[in-house]
Symmetry: C2
Subunit: 289 residues, 2 copies
């Protein structure tokens, strides 16, 4: 199923502003998934497998149950929303997340962890930000604060907040599996409202000369900028009508045109890691160690 809105939480504006301010003052833990992102990408662990707020690891491959970390008590409105709106028996992880001057590269989640039907990921924005958009293989969309979004993270998907303004959200992970229905994430069946329509982002038609212009990057690409170029290419589908997966093929084309075997290898390994297959704890980097 494609990404879709499952419900809408009526946040209390004043209380949510206080919780966001509290999140923004919390220590930032180690981040296991930075390689997927550029810019500010930080996660505050509110609910996870260990109950340890410093543990940002997603234990989907083991389907460990979740529990609150001590930080959840410090954000009372979010605490209330999580425990009254959602089914705690299925909730495995909750991250309070901020992204600024940020993009996440086109990628598929869960591919290291097993059958994608076991996992169900939900995003809820805590504040509106006009510069923040998400995408999957079908569309580019703008999440509004309070919307409970199923993000089909098993598809190739991406996002950006190309502004210097914060965009706090919650990322909720649920255990799914046989017989699971989206309504099962909620504490009460009436919270499920699949009638809500998303705000789609209109893109401009892809310019006919786009591939040729991008190919010019083959004369500029180097070990020091291949990461920048990979992320730059990964954002083009967010504003122009090109397939989300095209960026990986462009990157491989650009490196092939450059004739640099090391760059070709990085591009091919990157495509494999981000969209095809990877292992639990596999440690890809665009740059040397």
């Amino acid at each position: 199923m494609a990404s879709t809105i499952l419900g809408r939480i009526p946040f209390d504006d004043e209380r949510i502003a206080k919780d966001i301010a509290r999140l923004a003052s919390m220590p930032i833990p180690q981040e296991p998934y930075r390689v997927f992102t550029t810019g500010t990408w930080l996660n505050i662990n509110l609910w996870n497998a260990s109950g340890d707020h410093a543990d940002g690891f997603w234990y989907g491959h083991e389907q460990r149950p979740g529990r609150p970390t001590p930080l959840l008590d410090e954000v009372p409105h979010l605490h209330e929303v999580l425990t009254t709106w959602f089914n705690p028996d299925r909730l495995t992880m909750v991250r309070g997340r901020n992204v600024v001057e940020f993009s996440i590269i086109p990628h598929r989640d869960f591919i290291e962890a097993g059958e994608v039907e076991q996992f169900f990921r939900v995003i809820i924005l805590l504040e509106d930000n006009e510069h923040s958009v998400n995408s999957d293989e079908d569309m580019v969309f703008h999440m509004r604060a309070g919307e409970v979004w199923f993000l089909d993270a098993a598809q190739v998907h991406a996002a950006m907040n190309m502004s210097s303004r914060s965009r706090w959200s919650l990322c909720l992970d649920f255990a799914a599996g046989p017989g699971f229905q989206p309504a099962d994430i909620f504490a009460r069946p009436e919270f499920y409202d699949p009638s809500l329509r998303p705000t789609l982002v209109e893109r401009k038609p892809a310019a006919p000369d786009l591939p040729e212009r991008l190919r010019a990057l083959s004369t500029v690409v180097s070990r020091h900028n291949i990461k920048d170029i990979a992320f730059l290419l990964g954002r083009i589908h967010l504003t122009e009508e090109v397939p989300i997966g095209a960026s990986w093929d462009w990157l491989i084309d650009i490196t092939r045109q450059s004739g640099d075997a090391e760059l070709i290898d990085i591009a091919e390994r990157a495509k494999k890691f981000f969209v095809l297959s990877r292992e639990v704890n596999e440690d890809f980097t665009f740059l040397p160690r």
Copy 2:
């Protein structure tokens, strides 16, 4: 005076490793100077004007004296080094700094704060990293762990660590002014040793077609990648023999060729902010707010 080595601290490898591990586990405070950087750039405030470890602001324009923050006690070897090697009366700020997959754009420091002769900035790497280099208007150089480097931050300067490995350092700020001599930063005059020679980085001659290849970026530059392109250009002088300041002129040329007035304006404002003039607390961003 150009950047130069002033002395060499014989760190205790085992004790420094413990202090680095402790720094790496500390909460990361708000970062006032992120706009100068891309990638991981974090500062742990060990000594500053307020004594508050969350305060990362450099109060050079007011020449406030410095004092330890509570975090200094948690890194005993660094505490000992700072207090036995340096003159506490001149020390205004000490930041424990990590940079990873990082570059800092060609820029001049202190231009918002008054006469550059009042300020004296010192960098000491806590660990070696072959991928980490610094530059000023004269040279590209490789700092080695323990070297006490005067960084002539009033010149245009830059740096990168284009690897996924950490590069912890200390950044020390001293009050200088009339009659100040570099040896004055030390607690004892014999610590000053200007005979130490730096490791210079050999660069390749600039390719004759470099300006033409970079100009191809004018067909790719957009609001969503101008920041990436600015940083990409800002790293070229670190590996090719071109003037450090060239990147700002390239960026302006590229945006002019693009014909996009908004991009030209961003490029011109960026050059002004980073190398020509700015106000205390001025808030430049490449991206919209």
